[in-house]
Point group: C2
Chain length 158, copies 2
Amino acid sequence: MPSTHRADRIDARILTALSDDPRATVMAVAERTGLSRNTVQARLSKLDDAGALRSFERRIDPAVLGYPLQAYVLTNVTQRKLDRVGAALDAIPEVLEVHGLSGVADLLVHVAAKDADDLYRVAGDILNIKGVKRTTTALVMREMVDYRVRPLLDTIAE
Amino acid sequence: MPSTHRADRIDARILTALSDDPRATVMAVAERTGLSRNTVQARLSKLDDAGALRSFERRIDPAVLGYPLQAYVLTNVTQRKLDRVGAALDAIPEVLEVHGLSGVADLLVHVAAKDADDLYRVAGDILNIKGVKRTTTALVMREMVDYRVRPLLDTIAE
DNA sequence: CTGCAGATTGAGCATTATGCACCCCACTCC
DNA sequence: GGAGTGGGGTGCATAATGCTCAATCTGCAG
């Protein structure tokens, strides 16, 4: 469903400017990028018409909501029940995201928790889902490289 | 450095409104939440003074930048060299984020790639870092639950 | 080389939003 | 009772927005 859209140099410059200052107005972006206000406005509406920008929720840190602990739960699933397990995971509030993988595990479940006990409980909830065979929990201890796309933007902008 | 800040019901309502419409103006948020413009403005400036909102880059989908493939590389590292490995990973453009873990692996490296060959190359780059002992690559095949914080926001907002 | 379609730009204009200051009120904690 | 905190209301000068129109300026096919 997403992104038949491919960002070019100009889009990259706009996105870079927005990364520098997410609350920047269209005018400010235009100034920063040396583009006209019209162009920036047109590009931006194309970008979000195309659904190129993901949910604002991505910018919300669970820690601020009182969930300072994060962990990744590698999950093995009885194959036929993948969808059911997905639905069950979706119903757990502490589940931030779930990726279907090829490789070591079937699912990578990203969870947040209030504290160690809470995490233990959530991990238990996941293990109790019918169709889940095995889980391995890895606690996030440090953010070594914070999510960034800048290097990719830079290669596009040359 | 982050978040001595803890969001309350009002913050949660504001954040929810912004999730519904990321480009909403302060006025629109005030209307949607039934709060006054003053309050919304004050809350928002507190939120970003406190650094409660993470980088705008989180909203940029690598797929739009021409990197439609994503993978997680579980990495085992010679412990003493963790920082050096972190720095080396930081230098690889295709590395989106790196988490330091407790558990199965030492590092969880999230990478993007243009295609299968590109991914293979990136995985090789990681494995070639001095201090990296072993890697396991898991390709992301499906987004089963897209990143979301809504359920957590809802519990706060009651 | 010529010409076309799409993108970029500059300008204008009515409408809204912003940032800030000031004041008031309700609630809580001493 | 008094001080402090946080939400709400109002006003105002300045700035941004959304939109349209017309004029270049591309890239590219013929």
